[in-house]
């Protein structure tokens, strides 16, 4: 049997072997950690920003699984997309609603703001702006959209459905709008001028009253988009200016063709539809009030394939529009709309004013928007999500923590203890 003195070198040899084995394990672990990747986090929308900050600073996070339970902001999505392009593995799942909102200024001088909403059928969406709630819109079973008109909004417009929010940037300001009215001296010209003027349009006119004599504003010409938004041709007296008006439309101006002007050959290339024979209006008895349905009408026919019918009456089509060049053209079949204003009862004048302003606004060009786009605004968050991150993942497992690249503390302590024991043993027996 061996003595203790003889066993000590054997123990020391075993300790050295263990030390080499432990160092080997440590080396293997560190190599494995480098190869197998890093932390893969699963986060919900509320904690996404913190994870993004961590992932940007630390290379230990190698992937993010996003569970969408609310709308991530556009900035967060852009951040996530940038990290994904760099190195991060990004997946997402969830069932965010189809939600999109747009806010556009109506193209009239005192233009309200039109809010258009796209959402899932049968849902109710709260619409608001920076100042508070505007209204609640319900999207019916049949269609996927709804709209409202607000006199004014403050800041961005948002549509909220539960935790999901779509935010449209604020609409641009109210630019001044100018119209040129071409028609003969008569009640129709007078009341179109009055309606547009009362609605806030800057109106100029040329109204021939006799051969060679026109009642017109000074500096009427040239007709271009820097001076006018819309030209309104009420009858055949516009014929001599038709080439200039055609150039105006081609460069983005709006044209409204009404009354006798619908028969002008000069506008044939532009008009969305041709007017038929004039049908008389309803015979009025004492006390009757006039509505558009009671006005004389030249029913619009031969509608171009690219035209859109906007109004129709029992007698035929009344309002048709189309794009022409960079501009837009509206054909009105109504005749003597002034009777609506004068004989339309207590609300006739207001209705006539709004109708004419709306028609002019429909073809008026959009002025450059100078409204700042908020960084966090996202008018269609679900669409942006799919656009940025791709389609949702069918499912993903719970996050699995990969081995850490740093050595575990127990392994380090063990190595130190083995090293200490082996050194102490040698020193105590006098060996070096």
């Amino acid at each position: 049997m061996r003595s203790r003195a003889e066993l000590r070198p054997l123990v020391e040899w075993l300790l050295r072997a263990a030390l080499v084995a432990l160092l080997g394990v440590a080396l293997w672990r560190s190599t494995r950690a480098k190869q197998s990747g890093v932390e893969h986090r699963t986060v919900v929308t509320g904690t996404l920003r913190r994870t993004l900050e961590d992932a940007t600073r630390s290379p230990d996070i190698g992937g993010v699984d996003l569970v969408v339970d609310a709308s991530p902001s556009a900035a967060e999505l852009r951040w996530l997309a940038a990290l994904a392009r760099a190195r991060l593995t990004v997946r997402w799942r969830g069932a965010p609603p189809s939600l999109a909102v747009a806010a556009d200024r109506v193209r009239e001088p005192q233009g309200a703001v039109g809010v258009s909403l796209a959402a899932d059928s049968g849902t109710t969406v709260a619409i608001g702006d920076s100042a508070g709630a505007l209204d609640t819109l319900h999207v019916g079973r049949g269609g996927g959209g709804a709209s409202l008109r607000a006199p004014e909004v403050v800041g961005a417009v948002s549509a909220r459905q539960g935790a999901y929010v779509a935010t449209a940037p604020p609409p641009n300001g109210q630019p001044p709008r100018a119209a040129l009215v071409l028609g003969r001296a008569g009640w129709e010209s007078k009341f179109v001028l009055a309606a547009l003027g009362e609605a806030g349009w800057t109106v100029r006119a040329r109204l021939p009253a006799a051969p060679g004599v026109s009642v017109s504003d000074p500096a009427l010409l040239p007709i271009d988009t820097t001076r006018y938004d819309v030209v309104i041709a009420l009858d055949s007296t516009a014929a001599d200016l038709a080439p200039a008006v055609a150039r105006f439309v081609a460069s983005g101006g709006g044209l409204v063709i009404a009354g006798g002007a619908t028969h002008l050959d000069s506008f044939r290339a532009l008009t969305p539809a041709l007017a038929g024979v004039r049908l008389p209006g309803r015979i009025l008895l004492d006390g009757d009030t006039v509505t558009p349905a009671a006005l004389p009408l030249r029913p619009l026919g031969a509608v171009r394939t690219d035209a859109v019918v906007l109004e129709r009456q029992a007698k035929g089509l009344a309002v048709v529009a189309r794009r022409a060049g960079q501009g837009r053209v509206l054909a009105l079949g109504y005749d003597e709309s002034w009777r609506w204003r004068m004989l339309g009862g207590a609300s006739g004048a207001e209705a006539h004013r709004r109708w004419w302003s709306r028609n002019a606004g429909l073809v008026a060009p959009e002025h450059d928007s100078s409204a700042p786009v908020r960084e966090s605004a996202d008018a269609a968050p679900t669409a942006t999500l799919v656009n940025v991150l791709g389609p949702p993942a069918p499912s993903f497992t719970a996050p699995r923590r990969s081995p850490s690249r740093s050595l575990p503390l127990t392994l380090l302590v063990l190595i130190c203890l083995v090293l200490l024991a082996e050194t102490a043993s040698r020193r105590f027996r006098g060996a070096r």
Partner: protein
């Protein structure tokens, strides 16, 4: 369809039909000088009826005291609100006369205070040019009525347009003759009526 129909206001008090030849004369003048589609005959329109709104320019005259009924007042107010224009002429040519005193009082209650129309107003340049303002009438110059030559007309503007024109110049006498007799005049004295009509149709 005629665009312009000359309408004479019929009101319940007074002698609204005191210038029966004037409409034909003005229609002749408008047709003679302009290309405006004008109906060959005028109409008489009750101030209290809804037919008033078919004729956005209405002429009113008389010699006798004017008292509008409440229906006439309400109708005139709506007529002005919707953009109609009323031309009132004192057939007496007398600022101390009963027509002037009562008509201006009634008009004030409907339109508010009447103000002088400056002689630089577009009304005097819209077709023919009258650099000195409203043309004088022979009745002003021959000393009848108040024996005054009225330098201006008065009226009320709404939205930058005249909705009421009031004259003390007695155009109702001046223009109340058969159009055939214009040939005896060196200068047609109804030309200012063209300005009234063209202004109403274009402003």
């Amino acid at each position: 369809m005629s665009d312009f129909v000359f309408a004479t206001a019929q009101y319940e008090s007074g002698d609204w039909d005191s210038a029966p030849l004037l409409p034909a004369n003005i229609i002749d003048t408008v047709a003679r000088y302009t290309s405006i589609d004008v109906a060959p005959a005028g109409v008489i329109v009750p101030l209290s009826g809804s037919a008033l709104f078919r004729y956005p320019l209405v002429y009113l005259t008389g010699h006798l005291p004017v008292r509008f009924t409440s229906a006439e007042r309400a109708n005139l107010r709506a007529f002005a609100d919707r953009g109609g224009m009323l031309f009132v002429d004192d057939h007496n040519h007398d600022v101390d006369g009963t027509f002037h005193k009562t008509a201006t009082e009634e008009l004030r209650s409907v339109y508010g205070p009447l103000r002088e129309i400056p002689n630089t107003h577009p009304l005097y340049r819209t077709f023919f040019t009258f650099p000195d303002g409203p043309p004088t009438t022979s009745h002003e110059l021959n000393g009848w009525g108040d024996n005054l030559v009225h330098k201006t007309l008065s009226g009320v503007e709404r939205g930058g347009r005249l909705s009421l024109i009031y004259s003390s110049k007695d155009y109702s006498s001046e223009w109340n003759y058969h159009p055939e007799n214009k040939r005896f005049l060196s200068v047609d004295n109804t030309r200012f009526a063209v300005n009234l009509v063209v202004y109403a149709l274009t402003r």
